[in-house]
Amino acid sequence: MSAVEVIGASKIFNQGKTQQVDALVDVNLTVDQGEFVSLIGPSGCGKSTLLRLIANLLEPTGGSLMVNNKTVSQARLDQDYGMAFQQAGLFDWRTVSKNIELPLELKGWDKEKRSARAAEMLELVKLPEFADLYPWQLSGGMQQRIAIARALAAHPPLLLMDEPFGALDEMTREYMQGELLRICGETATTVVFVTHSIPEAVYLSNRVVVMSPRPGRITSVIDVDLGAKRNEDTRAADGFFRNITAVREALRGTQADHASANAIRGLEDR
């Protein structure tokens, strides 16, 4: 069973109008259980749109999407996935643990079960002593860790992340990447991860999906052969740079396509 299945999905904004934008055209992607897949590409390549289609926050114009062999709308209703954004987006008026409890509250869990789970999640992200503080009393990196704890609170099998570390400084960012791998390893969570950063994509992923704009589509998929166990030494390994180069070259291809983007689109339409 695959965690995510995208079959011929398209998303066209303002269809038929002069401002028509082909955000995604005929995208096919399968993500296996426990896999970590990154979506990378220049701005406007539709990587965030694809993530929002999987999350059922947007309706596709064509094609179909499945999460855990369910329709995406059913998966959203069942809270089969957790989500994290670039802004941690914690609620200022809730304590850290109440923030983590939010999805559980919406699911109708009772109070004891909720606070037990929140405590468990705080252990997981290694911030147990911050339970009763408010989010604005925490650093950006800590806030983002709480956001991940919140996304995973209901133990969803799938985690969707939209540039979650984009607003963090480089040092915090690398630390968070390590933490994310550890957490996902411990919880066996499948991740679809949108990023701008090539080293980030390579360090985290089993596969890197390279996308290109106008119209948004997948141009290549690169298998990262760094093995399952990754740590700080991985960043200095030869294989790391080889994979980075591979992704970079695939991305260069997308840049060169800019001029001929319309020609390609013409072909694909037929």
Binding site: A55, G89, Y134
Partner: protein, 292 residues
Amino acid sequence: MKFARRAAYRTAMFVVSIFSVVAIWELYKIIGPQDGGKFFGVSVLPRANNTAMPHISTMLSRYSRPEVRGSDKKIWVVVLSGAWFSLRLSLVGFFLGTTIGVGLAILMARFKIVQRGLLPYLVMSQTVPLIALAPLVVSWGGKLEIGSFVWPRWLSASILGTFLAFFPIAVGTLRGLSSAPAAAVELMESYAASWKQTLFKLRFPAAVPFMVPAFKLGASGAVVGVVVAEISTGLKGGIGRLIIEYAREATGDPAKVFTAVFGAAALGLIMAGFVAISDVFFMRNRPKESSI
């Protein structure tokens, strides 16, 4: 500790500001022209004499003297009971205004079409002069028959308070409800949260910093509405009635009207104070810079 120091600082600033107003008033009485300053026949400076501008001390000491000569009722008792009467009417007006204002804001936030259709009328409603509206409300109220319910006269004054209170509350709450960040709304959507859940767990908490100043305006608006309604409908017992009664005696007893005016001002402050206390309560755990 920090909180106590800030409270002390604020109280000190309040006292200083009151004393500076007193000082400016008394200073003008010394240097201002006794019969007003005229410039090419147009009077531009107010008269500084004791009839137009009584000494602050005269006004304050007036509180301890009887309301009318020969009566044993001290004027502070009369002003206080008038203020209490008007305060109750204002509270009724404020609560009705809050209910209507917040209700309208929820409707407008829920249905964009309601917002587009209703908002212009709300703005327009505030251009109707209160004085013109007051007698109408009284006569409509008099004609109203709902079972055995009899429309009391004071309710008309409260309704006019409501009329001034609901508008800032509706507009401020609507802005607040729409202020929730798009990412937070998307997050709630990703949890498949219902509109009601989003309203109570996200939109209302996010709206508090916008609602507090709106409620302050609404609270003082309710007082203004009630006082004006008392004056224009001649309702007895409140501070508005005292103001016109005492104003008639301005030549013989100029300090008297000020006792009632201060009473009305204190009412507005008390009402806004209620809201300020609730602000401290609701915002106690928020980042300090987000409170307006």
